[in-house]
């Protein structure tokens, strides 16, 4: 017996009085919601993904979108989603794939943390008039310094500092590969980080030659698929990042479907056209912590110890101990990706159920490294669901040196978090390789928008720091005194090492 269809996810309607039939909606929708028959715009709401491209392009605000226009019998356990997933799997017998980050209604710890400000006992600092230092160095720091005295009696530094990345602001753009996103999206991000004095990740898909002009602001990624990885690629990067895991799908690999492997992607990844690009779940030369150390040292050896090596892991239960192991591997920085991190595609069951939030993970890692006396020797980068400058400030106070943003930077390029990235039809030209869609991004405009975002957050962070009487980012890092927990339970406060409000 047929299961029939499930209700529409979204209902699109056009206010026909307002509509001037400019057809922008028809032209802009890559999902085929609109078509024209006999001079009338017809709507197929079932195809709608709520990407808002049509709405944003409509000059008359004539388009309306309604989510879940059909009610189910309400039930607290058997939600519409639970029922629809079952129907889907009863039909197909397959794993459900979903886009963007964790969509479950878990409490957001960031929103239960509040920041501090000075009153009376010390003055706030006005960042517009007083010096305010956000410069951040990522990389290994010595535990202590050694000096020698020259023959003339001058004191000379004996300790050699390992290479560090210099960031003008502690905001970087995370790794989104060419293949997962378009070249114009990557180019916009690259120009933005070059403008703002920070860095972005290449993702695991290699580096397209049109990004070479920005390579000194790029961190090249080595993931389990080793796509596009050769010695030239390694030497191009300002730093090299080993991707072990991703917050959106800890413990599993990924694959770029063959239809996204166009000739340019194929050439950048160095794989045949139209072939699936499969990233295995583990690196098959890393099955243990000492193997990670081996890959870290291998990359260092290949690049003559000139590049900082980052290691990115998904935030999982034992994240603190794992990070402590990574810190011993010659790696220069640990990247922790929380369970709200975005993705082009992930099995829904992983996206929504595996991993832990970044707030707890970064605090636990910071604490563990601190307990072991090695916190300052490595850098910690937090990522996964950072939405604004407050999340940024809180991440740093919980122990991060810097953050990676991903989804936020894409929203600055037009993304509306519709979560259909895996379909390759992104009407904003971001998660697609279709040339006409990719062309929708003007990289000059796009990069300006992204740079504006980084600039705005940087300003806000300065204001927040100034209000807290802090004029150098080092003084915010790990500074739990400037955080309080609001309606967090004792167990959570203990993990975060934060006092409750009023305490």
């Amino acid at each position: 017996m047929s299961l029939g269809s499930v209700p529409l996810k979204y209902k699109i309607s056009i206010d026909r009085d307002q509509c001037m039939k400019c057809m922008r909606c028809v032209d802009n929708c890559s999902y085929g919601v609109y078509r024209v028959e006999d001079d009338r715009i017809l709507i197929d709401s079932r195809r709608c993904t709520a990407c808002h491209r049509c709405i944003s392009m409509c000059p008359r605000d004539a388009i309306m979108l309604q989510e879940k226009p059909v009610d189910y019998r309400s039930h607290p356990l058997w939600t519409a989603e639970a029922r629809e997933d079952i129907i889907n799997q009863a039909r197909t017998g397959k794993i459900i794939l979903a886009g963007m980050g964790n969509a479950m209604d878990y409490p957001i710890i960031f929103d239960r943390l509040v920041l501090d400000a000075c009153q009376v006992t010390n003055p706030s600092i006005d960042p517009l008039r007083e010096p305010m230092e956000l410069r951040t160095y990522l990389g290994k720091k010595p535990a202590k310094l050694e000096f020698t005295k020259s023959d003339k009696g001058d004191i000379e530094l004996k300790t050699e500092l390992a290479p560090n990345l210099k960031l003008e602001t502690p905001i970087m753009i995370g790794h989104m590969s060419y293949g997962a996103i378009s070249l114009n999206a990557q180019l916009s991000l690259a120009k933005a980080v070059a403008k703002t004095g920070t860095f972005m990740g290449t993702g695991e898909g290699g580096m397209h030659e049109s990004l070479y002009p920005y390579q000194k602001n790029m961190i090249v990624q080595v993931a389990s698929g080793r796509f596009g990885v050769d010695i030239n690629y390694l030497e191009r990067g300002a730093a090299i990042e080993i991707k072990i895991g991703q917050g959106a799908k800890p413990g599993i690999g990924g694959h770029l479907p063959g239809e996204k492997v166009c000739s340019d992607v194929s050439c950048t990844r160095m794989i045949p056209l139209g072939s699936d690009a499969i990233s295995p779940a583990p690196h098959h030369d890393i099955y243990s912590i000492e193997d990670l150390a081996q890959l870290v040292r291998s990359l260092k050896e290949a690049t003559e110890w000139k590049k900082p090596i980052f290691v990115k892991i998904a935030a999982v239960h034992n994240v603190a101990a794992i990070a402590a192991g990574i810190a011993r591997s010659s790696a220069d920085a640990v990247v922790i990706d929380g369970f709200r991190g975005g993705t082009g595609a992930a099995p829904k069951v992983f996206r929504d159920n595996v991993g832990i939030p970044i707030e707890a993970a970064v605090a636990a890692v910071d604490q563990k490294l601190n307990d072991q006396g090695i916190r300052n020797e490595v850098s910690v980068i937090a990522s996964g669901g950072i939405r604004n400058s407050a999340d940024l400030a809180k991440s740093i106070a919980l122990g991060a040196d810097a953050v990676y943003i991903g989804t936020a930077s894409l929203i600055a390029l037009g993304c509306r978090v519709c979560g259909n990235c895996y379909r390759g039809l992104c009407p904003w030209g971001i998660a697609t390789q279709r040339p006409d869609l990719v062309d929708r991004i003007d990289t000059d405009v796009g990069s300006q928008n992204v740079a504006n975002l980084i600039h705005a957050w940087t300003l806000e962070l300065s204001e927040l720091m100034g209000a807290a009487g802090i004029n150098s980012i080092e003084s915010l890092r790990g500074n739990r005194e400037r955080l309080r927990g609001y309606m967090l339970d004792e167990g959570m406060l203990n993990v975060l090492k934060v006092d409750p409000v009023g305490a």
Binding site: I96, V229, S275, I278, Q294, R297, S298
Partner: protein
């Protein structure tokens, strides 16, 4: 041609590699390294057409990211020689550990003896770059797992059956695995399929087999027939049918 000899006894790999790089930069085209015992990363990321002859047991990741050199090892290798190698040749006259030629992109890894588990895992090809892993002895489980291109040849010398471990070509979506003699169906991994090794295949691969045999100092004539099994991907998209949209 200038030759240089290094005694690596007790030496750490970083100064060893530094010596190699400096030698190559100064125009040395032939390097002999003696008394190697467990040093990792030899010739790592090296770009050159230098020939390096090594006596001893190489540590892990020999020739990782290497692009061009020829490394001849008179002895065994530990973990993953030819890891993510780009170009050049590694010849191992002894045996090697697990994950030999892992993610290899180009060039050749020739092993006279046996190799461990996951040989040739995720080798991949692009246009004219077709990596080759040839093994004189046997290989263990998950040979050519996730293989995305290139060629693996296993001759099975010294073994009754060339390969008797499971998971051959598990998840293979490019390239081919050529195994001497027959291969039991149950040993094939998910997505791998067995096809006849034809006269055309022999014609195509004879030069490679011959070259391999010459490198490992074995008479090639007894290997130049169609007594092989050829294993190829059932599809270039092995996981395409695994998912449904949200």
């Amino acid at each position: 041609m200038e030759t240089m000899t290094i005694d690596a006894k007790g030496m750490h790999y970083t100064p060893l590699n530094k010596m190699i790089r400096e030698a190559v930069a100064s125009g040395v085209r032939e390097i002999v390294i003696n008394n190697v015992l467990g040093q990792r990363f030899i010739a790592n990321g090296l770009r050159s057409n230098v020939r390096i002859t090594i006596t001893g047991v190489c540590g892990g990741d020999l020739g990782m990211f290497m692009s061009g050199p020829e490394c001849i090892v008179r002895g065994d290798c530990e973990h993953a020689p030819g890891n993510t190698m780009d170009n050049g040749t590694i010849v191992i006259h002894g045996s090697a550990g697990d994950a030999v030629a892992h993610s290899m992109r180009g060039g050749r890894v020739f092993v006279r003896g046996d190799i461990g588990y996951r040989g040739g895992i995720h080798m991949k090809q692009y246009e004219q770059k077709r990596p080759v892993l040839a093994v004189g002895g046997t290989t263990h489980a998950f040979l050519g797992e996730y293989m995305a291109g290139g060629i693996i040849i296993v001759l099975g010398m010294g073994h009754e059956v060339a390969v008797k471990d499971r998971g051959i070509g598990s998840g293979i979506h490019g390239g081919e695995i050529i195994i001497r003699g027959d291969v039991e169906d149950r040993l094939l991994g998910v997505g791998a399929t067995k096809v006849k090794f034809s006269e055309d295949d022999l014609k195509r691969l004879s030069p490679l087999i011959t070259e391999f045999c010459e490198y490992i100092e074995v008479d090639p004539s007894r290997f130049l027939d169609t007594g092989y099994t050829r294993i190829i991907p059932a599809s270039s998209r092995p996981f395409a049918g695994k998912y449904t949209w949200e």
